[in-house]
Structures are given as structure tokens and as C-alpha cells.
Symmetry: C2
Subunit: 285 residues, 2 copies
């Protein structure tokens, strides 16, 4: 049985219905998070909740019960018998349902809160083999720091990359690499790992933040600096990060094979550190 | 009774429910149109249908029954007893419902088609008084030519303008005026009307196209040329166009009062021509 959460109730997925007047449906007027449950605990739930608070604040969507969500997410996992499984929990908060009008409903309506859980292991084959990523102009708006569901730009770019045999796309804005359609990007040059600094042009990834901390704690050189796309030919190693995939080696960017075409040493080292940190979370729960 | 159309059925609005797995809800992966019913006929239904076809093509959403929609829209109007009323019909087509995954469902799923109608006259007071519009950087993606529901950028910008007492926002990209959050913008200088040419940075408005044709047919100078934002102080007259408002005079842009602060002569002339064209459509039906 697939049980989801909708506005205070746990219901079977096929009974959870959204109004066609919901602003999440009509306007993409909503924000979301995806958290990973490691068969007993969530990784960095605080990080996800803080980012969700920020997305809500920036979009001025008010969800007063956000503090209850961490417990609710665990309840959702358990109701779906996923307590011991590697799973993803999705939560989406919209501005609510109201007659269609671009400006916010006045008076405000209750937000729509939807959450679901599904069994999904990390794809470890990708860790071993690495992936190829495309390069494309960044087509998105100027508030990529908000984790909003208005994702058509990401969808279209990723699909085009997918059609060409790539598993992610490396966006380039004003000549600089920003991030992927659903991941952050790290590039290694001369033993230093580079990633785009936090700004309105990237999402502040939870895995990204943890990787940055781990690098600092373990003497790995890492700089939050923009990298120009035209230095891709000089990149020997790269990886992407996100909640569903953790740290995934990149072995090719567009036509450019990186190094010897296998996952890089620094990438592997960082991923081991990340796995260790994840598993260290286990007893906390 | 408020009757809507959803996937082949006419149902009461409160019975029309969207799956939380719908990609329109989860990703803003959908397109839409809003058409005006003038108590007996739709204005330029062909224009709306052609634009919807284009939006579907560009997003690769397949809706095989689009040719049936014009009749269906009229049926919807009649079922809501709006046959003689000025009304708006809204139609939204999403890529359909599927487990959440950024790439397109493979095999494809049926699109979700939702349509609704509501009584809504044109606000003629705005024609008489004109409106003030804000100026703001264009925060949107680079495919504004697609009429997609991933509208959070438009929503946030318009709300901010609204909070400051403006009824629309004039977007500026790379120093040039593009359009509004939900309208096209026309600026008059030295008796010539300027509007941004069709490109990926504006939506090709149905009212906009008709205004351009009318200007040509009636000897009004109109140029589809970009206007730099820094010439706003030299603008004496402006107006915006969209389906819900037709031709609305702009009397102030940001702090800048245009001319004597009343609707301009060319604006009024164009609006009369537009109204005549609309009403000429009446007998066709």
C-alpha cells in the first residue's frame, strides 16, 4: 500500500487528489524538498528543513506547521513499511488553492502540503562507472536558489541531454559553469576541487554543503569559485552531488573525456568520506 | 453550478481532482491558454489554438485531440450558462501523471487536460483611468515564448509590484524592455508605437498580434523593435495588452508620469479599433 500525506491526513496515493485550482498546479507556485531515509534515519534532516524554511520565506508561502514535518516524515516512512529501507521522502508545499489570479490570494488560503515516500536505493553502479554529462546554456530564471517546483526549464534541458545519451547537463551562464539540472557540479583542477559559490544562480545543495565541510575537515583543497566553461578541456576529474545519488563521478563532459575516463581519486576519496558521515548518522537515530 | 472539463468529462469543479503525481503539479510541466468569450463567440480562437499547438510542440507534450477543443470550449461555456456573458475560458495541458522523475515518462502517459470557464467582464474602469506599472529586472527563463504554467517568476514579480501599488510590472532584460508579467507592453514615442519583437524573451500575445495588424491597416506607425529602458523618461504614452484586459492605457511607469497622466490618444485610437474588430467577430458566430 502506497500511503501519502496530504493536508493533515495519511491516505492511499490514489485517493490523494489536488484541486485544479491549486496554485502549485496552475502556477508552479510551490516549493519542495527530497530527503533520503537510510533505513533508520534521515541524512541531515535539519539541512533540508532549513532550506525548506528559506524557500518558503523567499516565496512568502506560509506553512505554520513546518516544525512537525520531521516526525511526520518518519511516520510516513513507517506507514509505508520502509523503516529499514533506503528511501526518498518528497514534500511539496504550495500557496494553496484559490480562483486563478496571478497575485497572491487575499486573504491568504491554507497551503497545500503533500508528502510521499518511496523505496529507492542509491544507484551504486553509477559510482563505479561514472556518468557523462552534457553542456548547455543555463536557461533558467534568476532565483535558482529557491527550490521551487516551477521546473520546466530543468525538465526540458535534462530531457535533451538524456536524448543525447547524457545523464545530467552542466549549465553554463555568462560563460561560467553553474550547476546541473538536478545536481551540483564539482570540478577538479590541479588537485583543487571547484564548485560555484552560493548565489541566486545555484541551489544550495545539502550534499554539496556536506561535501564542502568534509573537504575542509580532511585537508582536501576546495574552493567555492566560479569555473569558466572554456577550461573544461583542462579538467581531469569531476563529480555531481544530490540527495538521490550522493556523490556521482563524472567521466565525460560533452565530448571531453576526463582523465583516463574512470572516476577520479579525489572523487572517490570524497565519496568515502561522505558515506562514512552518512553512516555515522545511524546511531543518532 | 461550476462545471469544468477534465480528461474527457464535464464535472463539478469540486469533483475535478488532479493526481499529486501530475507533472503539472510536481514540475510545472504543462502549458495553457486563456481565451475570451464575448457572449456568443470567442475572439481569435484560431490564434489561441495555434499558440497552444506551438507551446505543446516546443515542450513535446502530445495532445492528439487538440482539434476538438474549440467546440469543447463552447460546450463548457454553455454548460456554465455563460452563453451570453463576457467570460474567460482557461485550458491547461500537462504531460500527465507518472512517478516523479525529471525525464519524460517512457513510455509516454496520457496528457492531463483541464478546462474551466468563468464570468469575467473586461474592467472598463482601467480603460478610462489607465494604470501604473512598475519596472523590474526580468527574472524569467529564456523561453518566455512558451506559454507554460511554470510561472513562479511572473507571480513573485507581479506580487512585488502589486505590493507597491502597481498593476503590472515592466520587465527589463539586458537593458531593454521585454514585456509584463502577464501582458505585452507597447510604448509610444514620436507618434510611433514600439513593442518588443517576437523572440524567446516574450510571449507572442494574441491581443498583441491583432493590435499590430490593426496599426498596419489603419496607418498607425508601429515598429517591432526593442526599446531601451533608459528612454522611459522620453515616453509620452504606453499601453499593455492581454486577453483579459484587451488594451489598457499606462499612465505611469515607475516614478515616471507619462504625458499628462491620462490615457494617450494613440492608445485610445488603437483600443477603439480593437473593440471594433472584436465586435465584428460577433456575426461570424
Amino acid at each position: 500500500m502506497d500511503i501519502v500525506y496530504l493536508n493533515g491526513h495519511f491516505v492511499p496515493r490514489d485517493k490523494a487528489m489536488i484541486s485544479p485550482d491549486d496554485r502549485g498546479f496552475v502556477f508552479g507556485d510551490s516549493v519542495y524538498e527530497v530527503m533520503r531515509w537510510y533505513g533508520g534515519f534521515f541524512f541531515d534532516m535539519d539541512g533540508h528543513m532549513n532550506r525548506l524554511r528559506r524557500s518558503l520565506h523567499e516565496t512568502r508561502i506560509v506553512w505554520n506547521d513546518i516544525d512537525t514535518f520531521a516526525d511526520l516524515a518518519e511516520e510516513l516512512v513507517n506507514k509505508n513499511d520502509l523503516g529499514n529501507d533506503c528511501s526518498l521522502v518528497y514534500v511539496q508545499v504550495t500557496r494553496g488553492a484559490a480562483p486563478r489570479n496571478h497575485v497572491f490570494p487575499d486573504p491568504a488560503v491554507s497551503p497545500t502540503v503533500f508528502a510521499s515516500a518511496r523505496r529507492q536505493s542509491v544507484d551504486t553502479l553509477l559510482w563505479e562507472r561514472g556518468i557523462a554529462i552534457a553542456v548547455a546554456p543555463d536557461p533558467r530564471w534568476n532565483r535558482c536558489d529557491i527550490k521551487s517546483t516551477a521546473l520546466l526549464a530543468n525538465i526540458m534541458s535534462l530531457q535533451e541531454a538524456h536524448d543525447n545519451g547524457f545523464m545530467e547537463v552542466c549549465f553554463v551562464r555568462d560563460g561560467f559553469i553553474t550547476e546541473g539540472a538536478h545536481s551540483n557540479i564539482f570540478l577538479v583542477r590541479n588537485d583543487t576541487v571547484y564548485t560555484h559559490p552560493e548565489s541566486n544562480f545555484i541551489l544550495s545543495g545539502i550534499t554539496r554543503k556536506n561535501v564542502i565541510s568534509l573537504a575542509a575537515e580532511n585537508g582536501i583543497g576546495l574552493a567555492e569559485e566560479r569555473v569558466a566553461a572554456d577550461i573544461i578541456p583542462y579538467i581531469r576529474e569531476a563529480f555531481i552531488t544530490n540527495t538521490s545519488g550522493e556523490v556521482i563521478p563524472v567521466i565525460r563532459i560533452g565530448d571531453q573525456i576526463l582523465g583516463d575516463g574512470t572516476p577520479g581519486d579525489i572523487t572517490r576519496k570524497i565519496h568515502v568520506l561522505f558515506r562514512d558521515k552518512v553512516m555515522a548518522g545511524s546511531p543518532v537515530h
